[in-house]
Symmetry: C2
Subunit: 148 residues, 2 copies
DNA sequence: ATGAGTGCAAATAGTTTGCAAGCTG
DNA sequence: CAGCTTGCAAACTATTTGCACTCAT
């Protein structure tokens, strides 16, 4: 399993303490996100939640809300678009992302402290950082062109 | 100055050796990019080059070409869009980016080697990585809301 | 003279917004 | 019952593509 025990419960508590209202749809989306063992796109999230195409708007608004209260991380893709993933409240981490199938592997390494310190020295405040690694996973590795 | 001496000359040599054709427009765009002491957006590049609005297409195609031959780096913004910056051939680096005015400061720190090694262990190949730090620069720092 | 580069118009992907109606705390 | 949330339609931004024309090598 991807998240430790009590993960979903902690998120629910966190949401309870937040100004967000818990609706059936949000519960549904939260459940799908919690069940995912990978970061997923907004469209995939909508499909897995069994929502009609038009509900993509609600999905985005929900994702924005979850991100705002600090339980969701947005992972930028190389070309365009994002993947989304629940995190422990106010946690965050980095990833290896396959640029073909969008499989993600968590990267256990973060320069947050170091970057924060350097940013402060330069006068930057309210600092956030992004670090993602893109490549081809084993399954998607392109066949090397034969040299003939 | 932002780039070392002979920077533009090295780029021109590199371009010469590349399959790219050097046109007046590309020279112009290269010049503007080389003169910039900041990473800039495609639209700003077009404007500084004195090109009409419709030429944004050419700007994008030129940027893509420069990136392909390894003299240009694309810096993703936090919300959407990118900034572009010339680099020594096949070099790359990371940045602090003001999320208000898009001022960039170079970040002298790169985990390329480490990430490459870890990616290989996970079966990822043809790895590229992105690391950017977003915040408010001194000039753009928002006034703290008065607590009343 | 061949194929890379350009210009115009139009398409695209992903995401956001306005507004009226519905539901939660 | 105030106001957060939703639904639908439409807008939007940054970027890409098709095609005919031009120009660099």
């Amino acid at each position: 399993m991807k998240h430790g025990p009590g993960f979903l419960r902690r998120l629910l508590e966190h949401l309870e303490a937040s100004p967000l209202r818990m609706t059936r749809k949000r519960e549904r989306l939260l459940g799908v996100l919690a069940a995912a063992d990978q970061a997923i796109s907004a469209a995939v999230l909508r499909d897995r939640a069994g929502l009609p195409p038009s509900d993509l708007v609600t999905v985005y608004r929900t994702l924005e809300a979850f991100e705002r209260v600090g339980i969701l991380q947005r992972i930028p893709l190389e070309e365009s678009g994002h993947l989304f993933e629940l995190t422990e409240p106010h946690d965050h981490h980095h990833h290896f992302v396959c640029r073909e199938c969008h499989r993600t592997e968590r990267l256990d390494l973060c320069l947050g402290k170091e970057l924060e310190a350097r940013a402060r020295k330069l006068g930057f405040t309210e600092v956030r950082h992004v670090m993602e690694v893109y490549g081809f996973c084993e399954a998607c590795r392109p066949v090397p062109a034969s040299v003939d």
